[in-house]
Structure formats: structure tokens, C-alpha cells
Symmetry: D2
Subunit: 267 residues, 4 copies
């Protein structure tokens, strides 16, 4: 059959082609060039960045993917466990449910931090720009994206290790690292005390250093958390927690029909 559409030319793909007897990822033959020769990190970088990754790209990607994998019984992990308990035939749905919590409030902050780093790199006066950013957020009583952590004090140890590892890589240009340092000094100045760089802030700088565009960064959190959430499903198979969580929440949050007594300022 034959189909006509309004579109002038169809889009194309660079990711994959297949024939009856072969499969190609970009320009590489999967069977001959990749299988048994490349790691998962290497191939995912190749597909996402559209180029052959260097060893330094893989080191940076590996440490970022490790760091974002786990933080215990987060909203993400709890959602995955509850959905898995309810539909154990559907492991992918449980992981998908948890991934949806990879949003603006948590890991999504790396994007917002990366946008600030781009702004500093484009500024004529990066120090002045950084101070303006810090004071802007202070005036709105909002944390600067990439700074502060409610569970790690005084510093987020992951952030400083990430930055140390990146600084030890001579092949990285260093522009994002320097922009983050500039921003960090401005944040401390505005606050009048040291505020920790957090893991998502450092991740933004590291991914920027290896050429990951801002709007792709969240994808690294998604891949990493997918792995972390699979581990939570496995643990849920071995040590079920879903019913316990359900009963605990039901026992704790009680019924109160009176809206006025509860949130007068919101009515």
C-alpha cells in the first residue's frame, strides 16, 4: 500500500539500522564491533553523544552514574516498591513509576544548575554575574540549584569527590568546573557562611565538561536510577516491604474531614 502525508521529507535516524542478518548501532556493527569489546557505559555514551567516547568520558560517566544510583528509601524507591507489590508481573511498570519521581524537585536540579553555569561562562563579568544570581535566589528565599542538601551537612561528600576526580583529568577543559567554583564563592558570600555544593551541582559541572548538553543531563539520572530501582525490586522480592509501608502510612495519616481547622491559609 501507499501513503501520502503532508510532510515534505521524513526525518532520519542515526541510532540504529538492521538487516535480516545484521544490526548496526550508528556506524558500528553490533556483533563484530561492539559485543565482547565494549562496556555498557561506552556504548550508551556512543549512542547518546553521537561520537566515540574517550576513556576520560567513560570515567566521568561511570562516576556520575554510580553517584546518582541510590539514596536509600527515597520517594522514587518507595513508589517502585509499592507498585511492584501491586503488580509483580509488571517489573517495568514498577521501575517506570519510580522514574517519574526523578523530577524537578530532586535530580532535575542539575539542569537548573547547568543553566546557571552556561550563564556564567557567557558573562563578561562572571564574578558579578554569580553574585547577582546568588542574591536573586536569596531575595526569593530559594536555594541556588546545585547548592545545599537537607540530608548531608555540613558538606555533601559526593560533590567534593566528584570535583576532585574531575580536576585530576587533564583532558577536561575545566570551564564548567571553574564556573561552579565561581558560583560557589558567590553563594557563600551571599549567605555569609559556607553552603555545600551538592551532588547534582557537581554532576552538572562534570557532565558539562564531557559535552553533555543541559537538556540531556536528566537522562543520566534516569539511566542511573533505573539501575538503582531494579535493585529495589530485587530487594522487594527477597525482603518485602510494600505491605509494611502501606500499613504504616494508613496507621499514621488519619482522617480529618474539617478543612478549616487544618489549612485556613489555603482556603
Amino acid at each position: 500500500m501507499t501513503v501520502s502525508t503532508k510532510a515534505k521529507a521524513p526525518p532520519t535516524t542515526r541510532l540504529c539500522r538492521h538487516t535480516l542478518t545484521s544490526l548496526h548501532y550508528g556506524g558500528a556493527n553490533l556483533v563484530d564491533d561492539l559485543m565482547g569489546q565494549k562496556t555498557f557505559t561506552e556504548v550508551l555514551l556512543m549512542q547518546i553523544l553521537g561520537r566515540t567516547p574517550r576513556p576520560v568520558d567513560m570515567r566521568i560517566a561511570d562516576v556520575v552514574l554510580i553517584v546518582l544510583m541510590e539514596h536509600g528509601l527515597t520517594p522514587s524507591a518507595i513508589a517502585t516498591r509499592l507498585v511492584y507489590m501491586s503488580a509483580p508481573e509488571n517489573l517495568q511498570g514498577a521501575v517506570a513509576a519510580g522514574l517519574m519521581a526523578v523530577g524537578s524537585s530532586f535530580v532535575g536540579t542539575m539542569e537548573n544548575c547547568s543553566r546557571l553555569l552556561d550563564r556564567l561562562q557567557a558573562a563578561a563579568d562572571p564574578q558579578g554575574e554569580a553574585l547577582a544570581i546568588a542574591r536573586e535566589h536569596q531575595a526569593r528565599k530559594q536555594p541556588v540549584p546545585g547548592f545545599g542538601h537537607h540530608l548531608h551537612k555540613p558538606v555533601d561528600p559526593r560533590a567534593y569527590k566528584l570535583l576532585d576526580l574531575a580536576r585530576a583529568e587533564p583532558e577536561l577543559p575545566g570551564d564548567y568546573l571553574r564556573a561552579l567554583e565561581t558560583l560557589s564563592r558567590a553563594v557563600d558570600t551571599a549567605a555569609g557562611k559556607p553552603i555545600t555544593i551538592n551532588a547534582t551541582g557537581a554532576v552538572a559541572a562534570l557532565l558539562g565538561e564531557i559535552g553533555v548538553p543541559t537538556e540531556v543531563m536528566r537522562g543520566f539520572a534516569v539511566m542511573s536510577r533505573a539501575a538503582g530501582l531494579v535493585a529495589h525490586v530485587v530487594e522487594e522480592q527477597q525482603r518485602p516491604s510494600g505491605r509494611f509501608i502501606w500499613e504504616t502510612v494508613e496507621a499514621t495519616i488519619s482522617f480529618d474531614a474539617d478543612p478549616v481547622a487544618l489549612e485556613p491559609e489555603q482556603l
Copy 2:
């Protein structure tokens, strides 16, 4: 442009067509025939069943959709609230996460019950078949789908109200209701004591009575829970619970690295 595919003839749709100046749901003009004239329940039944629903269809669908909407802080509702807290810009993702808990373990049981009701209706000796089903499940120590409820004892009040409402409808053929009664007597006999019909068992019978195929039934739970979960999002906006649930779970489930002490039989 022109496209050729291997497919002989493309599939067609009966659900909707649109022109520059009109939109049609099936054979009905949305603006002229439906808007301001039909209810949500009426139009969703029309689209799902592919026919004009009778008043009795709407009464049955309404009561089913009401009954499945809410059961407090279920796994579904908790997942929705945690995802909403994490990504409040993405209300649809929070509802979608909760819907994925509408699975085999909870509301999905209506499908399994409906399959048993189909089996009884096809049997030469429904009583004998029902007893065989009840004893089969007893031997495997599994509840018969549609029977028993861990939160409602001795009876699930929703189930008996659903059945009363359906019995009061002279236009329904009654075959599914009778099959459920037959199965209920067999379940009681096998158990040696009364076991409650539960809401999903009664829902299976009611939806069967209005001609909803077994494999479509779960869709009614999905529509109903979507509404229930939107209400949970609204409550989360007004009385946030997500951080409390997170902290409560984190504080309750502690770290224990020793696998042997915990689940020796699973290693």
C-alpha cells in the same frame, strides 16, 4: 511524500474523526449531538462499548466507577503522592505512577473472577464446576478471585450493595449474577464457613451483565482510580504528606547488610 509498507491494508478506527470545522465521536457530532446533552459516563460507555448506552448501563457503570475510586492511602495513592511531591510540574506522571499499581494483586482480580463466571456459564453442571473451582483454590491455599477481603470483615459491604442494585434492574439478564451466587455457595461449602464476596467480584458480575468483556473490565478500575488519584493530588497540594511519608519510611526501615540472618530460605 509516499510510503510503502508490507502491510496489505491499514487498520481503521471507529472512535473519532475530525475535519477543519468538526469533531465526531463514532457517528455522533461532538458539538451538535453530545456537548451539553450527554454525561461523561454516557460518552465513555458509548466509546468503550461501541453502542448507545441504555439508562441501565449508565446506572451500573456509575456505581462501579464510584465504588472503585477510593480506598484511602492505598499503595496507588501513596505512589501518586510521592511522585507528585518530586515532580509537581507533572501532575499526569503522578497519576500515571499510581495507576500502575492497579495490577494483578488488587483490582486486577476482577478479571480472574470474571473468567470463572464465564466458565460456570459454559458448564453443563455449574454447581459441580463451582465446587471444583473452590476446592482447587483451597488445595493451593489461594483465595478464589472475587472472594475475601483483608480490610472488610465479615462482609465487604460494597459487594452486597452492588449486587442488590443489580438485582433491582429488570433489564439485566442476570446470568453473571447467578453465576456469582453459585460460586459463592461453593466457596462457602468448601471453606465450611461464609466467605464474603468482595467488591471486585461483584464488579465483575455487574460489568458482565452490561456486556463489558472480561479483558476490558480493568479499564473501569483505571478510569475510576484516575479520578481518585487526581483527588489525592489535590489533597497533596493542600495538605502535603509526601515528605512525612518519606521520613516515616526512612526512619522505620533500617539498614541490615547481613542477608543470611534475614532470609536464609531465599538464598
Copy 3:
């Protein structure tokens, strides 16, 4: 067991409580007060708005829920059908996948339109404010949210029917309707030609009229599309399209590894 948390007082819920023998939605007994007496639309409004809905609230909600249900083979419907083909045991996952396409680009525009209507109602000079909004968007070459439709020209017939139905309701205050009219005149003035109000713009005004907060509006699209997508799953069971869509897309989008030739401006 006993759990201690850092939280001072747990949150409460107004949505539902249950005992061994009863279930309550807010202050209503499900079995005695709702089942057989209320429609789906009535109960979902009661739960979402936290008050007893008036007949006018139900008429407005019904027409909004009907209008947003269907628009043929949208990205949403295609995603649902492809996921259902891949995992037919998991109807809820297919609907959830489609719901995630209810995003910022399509129905989410009702929120943005509603925010503009709030701004006009708060303005000292609504006409001036409306013109400022229209010219702002024109300068950025962006459509004003709630205006224009790429598939319906010259007017979106749904929008004008929605507004007619709302204007015929004397109990509605009319503030959102008037704000939308003001904005519409300004949009036409700025464009130098009439630009249609679209369905999401009219929906924003109607939901505003019955007291639905802006940040809840997207929930109505979610509930409505959940029903529409269940109908697409049913049609996929009866007239499978998934494999055809897959083959058509595979046959149309070809492999082209050369990034430079394709999108020079994006590199």
C-alpha cells in the same frame, strides 16, 4: 512496634476512611449515601472540590470531560496502542503511557491560559493588560495559550460551544468568561485578524467558573483522557493497529548516520 520520626504532627486526609464494616468518602457513607444515588461525575467533583457539587458544576464538568476525551490518533493514543501491543497483560501501563503525553505542549496549555485569566482579573486595566499579553507573545512569536489550533480552522468549534453553554448558566459568576473575551479581543487586535479561542482556552474559563484552581485543571484532562485511552485499548483489542504503526514508522524513517548534512545549525 513503635516508630519515631522527626515530623511534629502527621498530615491528615479528608478523602476516605474505612472501618471493618464501612467505607466513607469525606463525610458520606459510600454504601448508604452514594452508591445508586450519585453519578461518577458527581462523586469525582465532590472528592476533588471538597464540597457538594451543584447541578451546574456537574453540567460544566461533564461537558469539559467529554470534550477532552478524544481527538483521534493523537500522540497519546498512539503511545497507548503501541504499549498495549507490547504488554497486553498490563492495560493500566498502556493507559499510563498515553497519559504522560498529556503534557505542556497540548492540554497543559489550559493551565497557562488560566494563569493569564487570573492576571486579567487582578489587573486595574484588564484591556491594557490583555493587549500587553498579546503583544508580548507576538514579539516572541509564540501563540497565546488558549488561542489558535493547527487542526481546526478558522475556528475551533468546541471552544465556542463550551462558551455558549457556560454563558447560558445564570449561576456562574462570569468573571473567567469575561476575562477570556477580553483576552480574545486583544489577541485579534494584536494579530490584525481573528484568531480562534481553542478548546483548552475555553476549558480553562469554564473550570475557573466552577472554582477549579489552575493547578488542578490538568487533572480534568487526565481523567477524561484516561477514559478515551481505555476506548483506544478496546479498539486495539478488536482492530489491532500497533504492528501496522510500527512497520509504517520503520519503513518511513530511514537510517542516516551523517549528522552534519542533517542539522548543521544544531551542532
Copy 4:
């Protein structure tokens, strides 16, 4: 505050614990023991398997994760692209939507194949058992899980490369590989012609060899596809295909309201 629940003892977790100044994955200190020292594959295996992975485990996991990452414009990839077009602010939702297509019909088949391999290993007469399995499926006109591929003929090249790589690993016990070979001979015998082992069949054998339980296997597809789908999102940012796919599908699947003419056997 203090909470009492019905549960006797809360569950525990072995995955992660955190203090103000540290984060631990199982028994390892994230900053001191993992960051900069381990790869993504190594840490995900450690978390999922609950043990220190050997180099052979990593080689097998890497090749499996590479092989399942991509197969062009699959239902999964199309769903992700359409959802991304509709809600570009919500990258995680787009990936989650595509992951839900990792279901029973496609990659989920590795679980079903693995169950057969377990059955052969437990059988007194594996050859006889294998033939029985092959004939059973033939009689039901169903493919044996792990065999046959509609896009790769006469053989799925990925499967044989996977098996070659595994056979070259002296540390693997070989039981799953032998079971798959036994099953393959039986499938050929029953068919009277060679039927290819496919990628999911070979993946089941390889994951079995490194001790991945059957019910965890689908998790490897989920992690791998998450990476593949992130690459599709990136390509959708650079070479948008969503609107083209939408228009192509809309132009191809036309409206036909008459159910009788279309699928008489289904009514």
C-alpha cells in the same frame, strides 16, 4: 511523634544507608570505595546480585546490556518520542512510557525461556522434556520462548555471538548453555527445520550462568532500554520525528464506523 502498626517487625534494607557525612551502598563507602574505582556495570551488579561481581560477571552483563539497548524505531522508541514531543519538560516520563513496552510480547520472553531452561535442568530426561516442550508449543501453534525472530532470518546473529562469548568463559558452569542447546535441538526436530535461537533466548542462558534469578532478568532489559530510550530522546531533540509520526499515522488509519464489515468474527 510515635506510631504503632500491626506489623511485628519492620523490614530492613541491604542497599543503602546514609549519615550526615557519608553514603554507603551495601557494605561499601560510596566516596572511598566506589567513586573513581568502579564502573557503572560493576556497581549495578553489586547492588542487584548482593555480592561483589567477578570480572566474568561484568563481561556477561556488559554484553547483555549492550545487546538489548537498541533495535531502531521499536514500539518502545516510538512511544518515548511521542511522549517527549508532548511533554519535553518531562524527559523521565518519556523514557518511562517507552519502558512500559518492555513487556510480555517482546523482551519479557527471556523470562519464559529461562523458566523452560530451569525445567530442563531439573528433569531426569532433559532431551525428552525438551521434545515435550517443543511439541506442546507446536500443537498450540506458539513459538517456543527464546526461538524465532520476525526481523532476523535465517538466524539472529546476536544470539550466536552471545553464546560464543559465554562458551569462551571457563568460569561459567555451563548448565544454562547446555540446557539451551538441548532445547534448540528439540525445537529443530519438532519443526523439521532449523529455527534460530533469538537474542532473548541467549540472554536468558547467559544471565542464568551468572546467577541472575529468572524473575530479575527483565530488569536487565529495563536498564538497557532506559539507556537506549535516552538516546532516542536526544535524537528527538536534534531531529524531531514526533509530529511526522503523528501525521503519518493520522493520514494512514482512516475512520470506519461500521463494526460489522470489519471484524465480524469478533462480535
